[in-house]
């Protein structure tokens, strides 16, 4: 054998077919890092719109009553893994606060100033309803509604009111029961309105619809009592609300991006697997060749080292067994209230020379980590074992001085 060792990176291979092999380390780096980077960017792009929509209302409807109080109704996605959700309210003068989850359960709430703590406990969607007196102010005859909305929202103005000023562009406007319903975008909005002396001209294309939210308000005897401010849910005969259309489009976009990201991710993984496999094959070939030249020299030293190590550990093991093995019967007599499954663990530890890794116990008894952890902790509390840390693992040892303690 040739005793000269030639470092692989200084060696150039010229195969029989004349192809020249070059170093693959740099290529390997590039081939693995770039797809990873690309995949992360795709995930970020896909997640961005989802993140922005999470925890902000997916539906937000406001109804202004003639006295300026406002009914807020919103539907919010919440994290089902948390116990509570802190809800930002639009003000502090709140009445009739009701929060229900997706199953219609009334949730426990605690209103503190401008926020409310809702005990969600696994709910994924909550519906919040409350009346608020902070959104509309009045100066002279002019009523001003102002809100910094976290999402797009609909606003139903009181009957006979006329908008006389506003600070931003509405997305849509509909006439429902002779009332203006605006769809507005997120952000700061200020709308001035007054109770008009000039009648509103209703859109002839939109029929007046009965109040859909008051199906059981029985008032057959009183023709003029339908609640003018209550209507909130759009009537099916009225053209579809743009908010829902916008939502659908947004969902479609998010869905599209997600699908694209998944396809992209799958492609990257496939490419990566192929690349890594071929590089790995090449490296294996190269390494075997190198080992051929290197192994002989180091073989003697290696075997010597192994021999001495084996001897050392064997000596320690036999010593441990001699000194630390404790009779399980004695333990059981000292601790008669041990559980049967705990006794099995003790027997196993004892048969293993009085000490065993917790992971070995899990393998032996096919128990999940936490269950075994609890069993071991129980034995530790009973004074049967002690736990030591060994290479980031728990080493469970039978205690030697149990009899003395007794």
């Amino acid at each position: 054998m040739d005793p000269e060792i030639v470092p692989i990176h200084r060696k150039e291979f010229l195969r029989e077919d004349g192809m020249l092999f070059v170093r693959t380390d740099g290529i390997l780096d590039t081939m693995t890092k770039i797809p990873l980077l690309v995949a992360s960017m795709i995930i970020v792009a896909a997640v961005m719109p989802i993140q922005s929509s999470f925890s902000s209302p997916r539906i937000l409807d406001l109804v202004i009553y003639p006295d300026g109080s406002t009914h807020v109704s919103s539907e919010i996605d919440v994290d089902p893994l948390v116990t509570d959700f802190e809800l930002d309210l639009f003000g502090s003068t709140i009445d009739n606060f009701v929060v229900v989850n997706e199953n219609g359960f009334l949730l426990t709430t605690d209103v503190l100033g401008n926020s409310a703590l809702v005990e969600t406990f696994g709910s994924s969607v909550i519906t919040v309803d409350y009346d608020i007196h902070d959104l509309v102010s009045k100066q002279g005859r002019v009523w001003t509604f102002s809100l910094d909305a976290p999402s797009d929202f609909t606003l139903l103005l009181p009957k006979n009111s006329a908008i006389v000023g506003m600070t931003n562009l509405p997305i849509n406007m509909e006439i429902i029961n002779n009332q203006n319903q605006l769809t507005l975008s997120a952000g700061e909005t200020e709308i001035d309105y007054l109770f008009g002396t000039v009648p509103n001209t209703p859109d002839p294309t939109v029929p007046n619809t009965p109040d859909p939210t008051v199906p059981n308000t029985p008032d057959p005897t009183v023709p003029n009592t339908p609640d003018p401010t209550v209507p909130n849910t759009p009537d099916p005969t009225v053209p579809v609300n743009t908010t829902s259309q916008s939502d659908n489009l947004t969902y479609a976009i998010i869905g599209g991006i997600t699908v694209a990201a998944i396809i992209g991710g799958a492609t990257i993984i496939r490419i990566k697997q192929k690349t890594v496999k071929s590089i790995h094959d090449q490296q294996t070939i190269q390494k075997t060749e190198t080992i051929d030249t290197e192994t002989i020299d180091t073989e003697t030293i290696d075997t010597e080292t192994i021999d001495t190590e084996t001897i050392d550990t064997e000596t320690i093991d036999t010593e441990t067994i001699d000194t630390e093995t404790i009779d399980t019967e004695t333990i059981f007599k000292l601790k008669p209230d041990l559980r049967e499954d705990d006794k099995e663990i003790v027997k196993f530890i004892s048969n293993n020379g009085g000490q065993v890794l917790e992971s070995e116990l899990r393998k032996k008894f096919l128990q999940p980590r936490t269950t075994m952890w609890r069993a071991v902790k129980r034995l530790e509390r009973n004074g049967v074992v002690e736990i030591e840390k060994k290479d980031l693992q728990n080493l469970v040892k039978l205690r030697k001085n149990m009899e003395e303690e007794k």
């Binding site: 893994l81 009701v98 426990t108 406007m173 000039v198 939210t213 008032d219 992209g264 980031l392």
Partner: protein, 272 residues
């Protein structure tokens, strides 16, 4: 690789601009509503000016009105082709009208007096409407859980209250309103009681599910079992289980919050 890079760039650009695209598309689609709102506001302002000043409109207000009115005319002509101009015109008109209304709203005491009775009437009706909406919310909860209860008295009183409002019987309406309030309050108590009973079961179910998930996370081999949080999390799991068995839900809730915080630390350390 080149295709992949192009694809990524496309996804990034599309992902970041999609939200604004949606809003723009809808604003453009409904430009006619801008004209409806502006025209209505223009009419209202003209009417208000006429009522407040007659032919003697102060010059500053007159200038503002002319500016707003011109913007409405411009808006009319710029639609439907020039959407950008239409938006600009709309905002100009509405801001001018907003200024005018704020200027004319203060000195008119006469109008205030004329509408004061209407306002008090409206207040009572608004309150009744709000209460009715609240009642509807509670009623929905009752119906959702098939809870048997009698709403007939409340519904009768609502009918009566609306009748009284229409007949301008303020005192009677107020009395009916108070009766309604107290009856609805009793119903609310009923729901609260029911909810607190069902909440315990819901919380226990949630906690047990979560504990199972947390145990699975703790069994992940990548978790460093030597970290103090691991031990703490495990002991909290045992503690919560015990508290749930003892039906000590409020203490279990508290411990659960603690466990969630620790789990966040453990998850972070796994990612790192």
């Amino acid at each position: 690789m080149k295709i992949l890079a192009l694809f990524t760039i496309f996804v990034l650009i599309f992902g970041t601009t999609s939200t604004s695209l949606v809003s723009d598309a809808y604003a453009q689609k409904n430009t006619n509503i801008l004209l409806d709102i502006a025209t209505q506001a223009d009419r209202q302002i003209l009417n208000q000016l006429d009522r407040s000043y007659g032919d003697l409109v102060p010059s500053d207000i007159q200038i503002l009105y002319e500016k707003g009115h011109a913007a409405v005319k411009s808006l009319e002509s710029s639609l439907p082709n020039d959407v950008e101009q239409a938006r600009e015109d709309f905002l100009t008109a509405m801001k001018s009208f907003m200024e005018i209304t704020r200027m004319i709203s203060e000195p008119v005491t006469e109008t205030k007096l004329a509408t004061s009775s209407d306002v008090s009437d409206r207040d009572l009706k608004s309150e009744l409407n709000r209460l009715h909406k609240y009642f509807q919310s509670l009623k929905t909860i009752f119906q959702k859980h098939n809870m048997e209860t009698d709403f007939s008295e409340i519904e009768r009183l609502f009918v009566l209250a609306y009748e009284q409002i229409n007949s301008n019987l303020i005192e009677e309406t107020t009395n009916t309103f108070h009766q309604l309030e107290s009856l609805i309050h009793i119903k609310k108590q009923e729901i609260r009681e029911y909810s607190s009973n069902s909440a315990s079961a819901r919380i226990v179910e949630f906690a047990l599910n979560q504990l199972e998930k947390i145990q699975k996370i703790l069994e992940d081999p990548s978790i460093d079992t030597s970290m103090p949080e691991f031990e703490k999390a495990n002991s909290l799991v045992v503690e919560i289980e015990t508290l749930i068995l003892e039906d000590n839900i409020s203490a279990a809730k508290e411990k659960f919050g603690e466990l969630n915080k620790i789990m966040k630390i453990i998850k972070r350390s796994t990612v790192e």
